[in-house]
């Protein structure tokens, strides 16, 4: 039995820096979940995932991250995706890296 399709967004980690990225409507990689393209059609989602996986020079481990569509764009549909979108839930001892 095929796995039930869950709507979501294409997410991955940036190859060079490792941070979480999302694919937007223009096929570009962006940092904010709410700027991602929301995919609720399984055929289109597969096509976008193929597009992501065809960019190994930019990202690692692309997958369809479960999301719902909120008033301001996609929102995480699972707590794991919420942490990926917003960073660790704890205060870091230091946070000195510029642009992090």
């Amino acid at each position: 039995m095929s796995k039930k399709f869950i709507p979501g967004v294409i997410s991955a980690n940036d190859l060079r820096e490792g941070h979480v990225v999302y694919m937007n409507d223009a096929g570009q990689w962006v940092l904010r979940l709410k700027d991602a393209a929301f995919l609720d059609d399984p055929v289109i989602a597969d096509m976008w995932l193929d597009l992501a996986n065809a960019q190994p020079e930019k990202v690692v481990g692309a997958y369809l991250a479960p999301a719902t569509l909120g008033p301001d764009g996609p929102e995480p549909a699972h707590f794991r995706e919420a942490f990926r979108a917003s960073g660790p839930s704890i205060e870091l001892p230091h946070n000195t890296l510029a642009g992090s």
């Binding site: 490792g18 794991r80 942490f83 660790p88 230091h94 946070n95």
Partner: protein, 555 residues
Amino acid sequence: MFQPSDFDRAAVRARAEQFRHQVARRLDGSLTEDEFKPLRLMNGLYLQLHAYMLRVAIPYGTIEARQMRQLAKIADAWDRGYGHFTTRQNIQFNWPKLIDVPDMIDALADVGMHAIQTSGNAIRNTTTDAFAGAAADEIADPRPYAELIRQWSTDHPEFQFLPRKFKIAINGAEADRAAIRAHDVGLQLVERDGEIGFQVFVGGGLGRTPMIGKEIRSFLPAVDLLPYLESIVAAWNLAGRRDNKYKARIKITVHELGIDTFSEMVEAEFPARRAAFKGADQAILADLKAQFAPPALPARESESFDTALNVDALLRDWAARSVSPHHNPDYGVVTVSLKDHGAPPGDATSDQMRLLADLAERYGQSELRISHEQNVILPHIAKADLPALFEALRKGGLATANIGLTSDIIACPGMDYCALATARSIPLAQQISTHFRDLGLEQEIGALKIKISGCINACGHHHLGHIGILGLDRAGVENYQITLGGDATETMALGERAGPGFAYTEVIPALERLLRAYLELRESATESFLDALRRLGPDPFKEALYAEAQRHAAQ
């Protein structure tokens, strides 16, 4: 003090150079991620939830002041100003960029450090007692043997593609401070008729199928250590399952075959392996023993320390928790807590690393250790220096007097960092530690080991916690199972699951009910939580944990 040989330094440099080229080839597209991933894992580089993570080897948890200072420099230059010390006595940097990792590895090589075999299906860092070479109850220093194992296992051509990772722990003292029977192979140094040897355990481990190691040799002469270890790994390399990664660990092989059958396989392998060792290992061991010889510790009076204890209550509280007996009565073994109330367990800022390095140089023979309980040890501190050391630690925020107490929690990185995690660990540890301090119960509760894992792989050793907490994903919600009665010491036991899990916000009220029940149930203030649990059995503690649910069910 042990120093790596020129051969070791050259090998580490060559590996760093090799990895620099591999990273460059990944970045220019010559290597795919599928090709690169095993290469980066062989060099301790993971891709986690939010970033890459570099796991740096600290062999048997022993580190010099200058190396600690270099870790601080790396944290500042290429990470976010801190590092995370792990239950495997390593350090992890949580935020490196791939493009910076070759520079980080070069910086490690500058001080003889590396990240080789901190990942992958190879023999990992051999862990040991963090008090090694100093403890009053030591039979023999395990570190020369651990270093011999490191030299034998590093890039061992036969053991680079094992069925799964392989972990060895070695303990040289009467008290087991290395949790040896929770490892693939556990080695206990023993003395028989004046001869040093090993009691050998095999097939222990935690994770989804926790098992306590079984004795395979009651006494292995020390001279046979490497050929016997090689026989064990070779037997498992042959018989270990590769069809299912969850069943590929040696504990499953030993369990499925039985210890007697597995022992026969090892013993069948052993004669030829022993014959192949021509004595070079013993020559190396003799050299290592000389390098690990105890430092010359000058006689020091300790009356000033005794006087200070009488007048300084803060020093007295700290010393009672943090100073352990040294084999030299003028000295103590100091455990520095990396578990300040509300802090992520095992994290140290670069400033704290530098302070620890400074203090090790000033007071402690430039030696530091990392404990499997995620604290830092200064192994040789003159009692006369303890008041000054305490004052310096206090100013640096490192004098929390909580070793062995409720807030001295082991916790894995959990879902705040780890790609494998199914729930968070660190914020729960932070809340537990502040909650019981704020209630004023921490000292009253006394000796207690709480261990938290954010997934079934059990990096937080939850099975071995007097109270273990396992974070899981239940239908998209964090859920925490409680185990009771685990023990990581020479009386090792696996905790038993108490019952249904708790939601994130329910865990601390449940623990408070549990620990208040313990305070009511214990025979005296000297009966620990674990002792009370063993005397009474789990039922009254389970009743306390689930009292709220039972109350709601009755309504």
